[in-house]
Amino acid sequence: MNRLGRCLTPVYLTIVVLLIAFPILYAYVGAFRPAAALSGGLQGLLPTSFTLHNFGRALSRAPLFLQLGNSAIVTVAQTVLQLLTSVFAAYALTFGKLRFAKIIFGVFLVSMMIPGETTIIANYLTIRSIGLYDTLVAVFLPFGASAVTIFLLRQSFASFPAEIHEAAVLDGVGPMTFLWKFLLPLSRPTIAAAVITSAIAAWNGYLWPLLITDSPDKRTVQAGISQMADSVGPDIGALLAGSTLVSIPMIILVIIGQSALTRGLTEGASK
């Protein structure tokens, strides 16, 4: 029984992996198959002939390359802005010796309890009234600060040895020099984790970009592709081609980031 179990577990797990990978494999193979073959069941996926027509039809409905660029701009801007405001806030809270540090940290944490879906109505009205509707700035501006990132960074900063900080201050190291030269380099694993989670969240943003942009050339790619899907209707080939195109940058990022992430994790573990 036990030996049987040991043989069956890898088989079972391989089936599980295939099931989980199936939608993506289907999308990647189907994107290159002629439209007629796609309605022919599994044998329609056999790679007998390839075509790029699906991509042409997808791109004729939405400027996906431009929208990929928009998403890249939004992702970088949102991640950098979040990281800056969070590093500053976490640093002030841990090393600033502020009397109100706990109250302000509480203000940050309580904001996590306010769902973004609750405040969209008011934020939509705010963005409209300051004339930023249908701009890329409007897509990332409301996410300029992140309570989760502040929380993570504060925990990492708090574990910094107090003696080193005191020694640096006695040697006349200014607060900003201490932040850039001592604290940040030693918090690299946490910063890397914060960057990756912020960037993934920014890239995946859907509800807000869909609401706050309107013209196709201002859409991020997530909002843009769902509109493309609405306009192509039941054209499976175009749907799969668009999905393939849009998913590639993130797949590359995760493959690259995965090694950086595991390195960061093992570094943290060996300390």
Partner: protein, 315 residues
């Protein structure tokens, strides 16, 4: 700005203390620290706290045809909402979606993570399981499943027809669409679930499993009665995390069904979206009242998390 003025004006005693060198530095500390807090505070006030207040205010107002607030009407939006059978249906759908998606994610997560953690030969399979769903954006995942679920000529219906089964009408049958949406949401969340469970399982000592095996417990029995209780903290975290996530889910449902067919997948967030921004939108008063209900429900779940995580969960 306010915070910097506040904190400096509240430290005069230290400034007058006899150790002059130390006091100057301390005053400097409070100054720059307060300044560094300003950007983050400003963002939270402008885009979290102020809009919260504005939505609360809007929820007590009626809205005219142009989407402008037209006078306070007390709790009428709330009374209308809770006496409307459609809204009660929406609440039911919201809870059904959340419960279904949390249960399915955890069952699948455990069914994948438990054998992965025991089989040394299969451990490399963990990577694709975790990374594939995490690398694909929710909108793209929804679209691919929309293609898979196309009625008649989509691959899901074709495979069923191949083995002689009728199509359940994945996204077109009002009695089945919610199940399809839950399946897709589970696929989207399975990577994170397995990642957290594997991390927790790595902390379970090998001796515990061996002791259970010596006592005659099979692999399944060891997993259910010995290992799962030991990782109950992580399981509880996942339950809360996924519950809040499901209550707030928009992307999966918007891409796949937009709340249809026959409102069978219309959750609270979809309802808010339709009322405020849908084709007949601009009804900010009613949408705001629902937004406050969402706030309260998410708040209650978070409060439960706070209470429970302060208690010792296992042994």
């Amino acid at each position: 700005m306010t915070s910097s003025r506040l904190s400096t004006s509240l430290t005069p005693k230290r400034e007058r203390s006899p150790r002059l060198g130390g006091t100057r530095r301390k005053r400097g500390v409070t100054m720059w620290a307060s300044a560094l807090l300003v950007p983050a505070l400003a963002f939270f006030i402008v885009f979290d706290y102020y809009p919260l207040g504005r939505v609360i205010a809007l929820s007590f107002q009626s809205t005219d045809l142009f989407g402008r607030p037209s006078g306070f009407i007390g709790v009428r939006n709330y009374v209308d909402m809770f006496t409307s059978p459609e809204f009660l249906g929406t609440l039911g759908t919201t809870f059904a979606f959340a419960a279904g998606s949390v249960v399915l994610k955890l069952l699948c997560g455990l069914a994948i993570a438990l054998p992965l953690s025991t089989s040394r030969r299969a451990v490399w399979l963990a990577r694709p399981v975790v990374l594939i769903p995490m690398a694909v954006s929710v909108a793209v995942a929804g679209l691919v499943f929309k293609a898979i679920f196309q009625p008649g000529f989509g691959i899901a219906d074709q495979l069923l027809a191949g083995i002689g089964l009728p199509s359940p009408g994945w996204l077109t049958n009002p009695n089945f669409a919610l199940v399809s949406v839950i399946i897709v949401d589970t696929w989207v969340g399975i990577g994170f679930t397995v990642l957290i469970l594997l991390a927790a399982l790595a902390g379970v000592p090998q001796e515990v499993r061996e002791a259970a095996a010596i006592d005659g417990a099979g692999a399944f029995r060891t997993g259910v009665s010995v290992v799962i209780p030991l990782i109950s903290t992580s399981i509880l975290f996942l339950v809360i995390y996924h519950t809040v996530g499901a209550l707030r889910e928009f992307t999966v449902i918007n891409v796949l069904t937009q709340g249809g067919p026959a409102n069978s997948t219309r959750t609270l967030v979809i309802d808010i979206w339709n009322l405020a921004f849908g084709s007949s939108g601009g009804n900010f008063g009613d949408a705001s009242a629902r937004a406050i209900v969402l706030l309260v429900i998410v708040g209650v779940v978070s409060f439960i998390q706070f209470r429970v995580s302060n208690r010792k969960v296992h042994y």
